[in-house]
Symmetry: C2
Subunit: 199 residues, 2 copies
């Protein structure tokens, strides 16, 4: 006996990650009962973002202009190129404030089983970019997952012979982490990646 418009709205909400039928119903009723302005605002924001946001021509991050803010900026060090999997990774690194280079966003990782190959994550574009800009160092900052490692490995193979120095972000015990509670794989990585101390 639910009205068709509400049913449609509840269905539409379930397309969001982590939102099942119950949460979707809660969201729909919440907006209808208490926050119609919020609902309209969300509708307009969604429409304009879906319409206006596309990929940066250089780094594939999301942007409304041809080049994103970081690629446009003259303060960023173009000799340092950091390769990440997603725009959220760029935000996380930017939030630290410790990196002044530029990015290349793969928008995913290699996943042959899902049919995601090198061209889907923009590796042709990455190769062209590196040949044009010749960065001194390329930092592979894909996730420390099986797919992320495989993608990093594939990119490293691809860039062999371009003369660019390649590095991979360190894997090990997180700050504040206690050895007792760290998984074995991470612990092993933190040993094999050990560095001379106070040198």
């Amino acid at each position: 006996m639910q009205s068709p418009l509400i049913k449609k709205l509840v269905d539409a909400f379930t397309c969001l990650p982590g939102v099942g039928p119950k949460s979707a119903q809660r969201m729909a009723y919440y907006l209808l009962e208490r926050n119609r302005d919020g609902g309209e605002h969300l509708s307009v924001s969604l429409a304009s973002a879906m319409e206006g946001v596309h990929h940066c021509d250089r780094c594939r991050d999301f942007t409304e202009s041809e080049l994103c803010g970081i690629c446009q900026s003259e303060r960023r060090d173009k000799s340092l190129l950091c390769i990440v999997e997603s725009p959220a990774d760029v935000l996380a690194i930017e939030a630290t404030g410790g990196f002044q280079g530029t990015y290349f966003v793969l928008m995913g990782h290699l996943s042959p089983l899902d049919g995601i190959g090198p061209e889907d994550i923009g590796l042709d574009q990455l190769k062209t970019l590196i040949q044009q800009e010749k960065p001194a160092e390329v930092i592979l900052a894909t996730n420390s997952t099986v797919e992320g490692e495989a993608t990093a490995h594939f990119i490293a193979e691809m860039l062999k012979g371009t003369g660019t120095e390649l590095s991979r972000i360190a894997s090990g015990v997180p700050l504040g982490g206690e050895l007792e509670y760290i998984d074995g794989g991470t612990l092993m990585h933190s040993f094999s990646g050990r560095k001379p101390y106070l040198s």
Copy 2:
């Protein structure tokens, strides 16, 4: 360095219940990266629901027409009126398939501290409805919370002298519940609400 459109979308998502900045960002990026059609569909569904859904003239439930499906139906027993707090409660009761009467939806409960008085939950309309339709029984099915009980009590006082029989849904041990793990208040209620067995 986040694009203004994305920032606006993330902000708009935080108006949803249970969605903080991190989930909002995840939702925005998910739609942009993988489900633009879903995003557009959600935008359209939101706009049409916010625009087209209003309250049923008789029972205050959400509907697109003047009367909701239940109030329009000739199969429903109008001599039985069930008073609930929200449209979600109507759905929950309808899902059981065991109630054939009609509803009146308060769209909230009395809450003097939040400035929600009798007129905000449509009690004038309820009184008029009961005077017109003269249902044989009114079932108070507000939540079993302090506010729900207070609202039920207020409605009962208001309907004194209208000659309508009033009832309150039973409170007690849920089906499958074990006494050992039930809170004291519920257990006490299940004792004071005991019924003759096999009679």
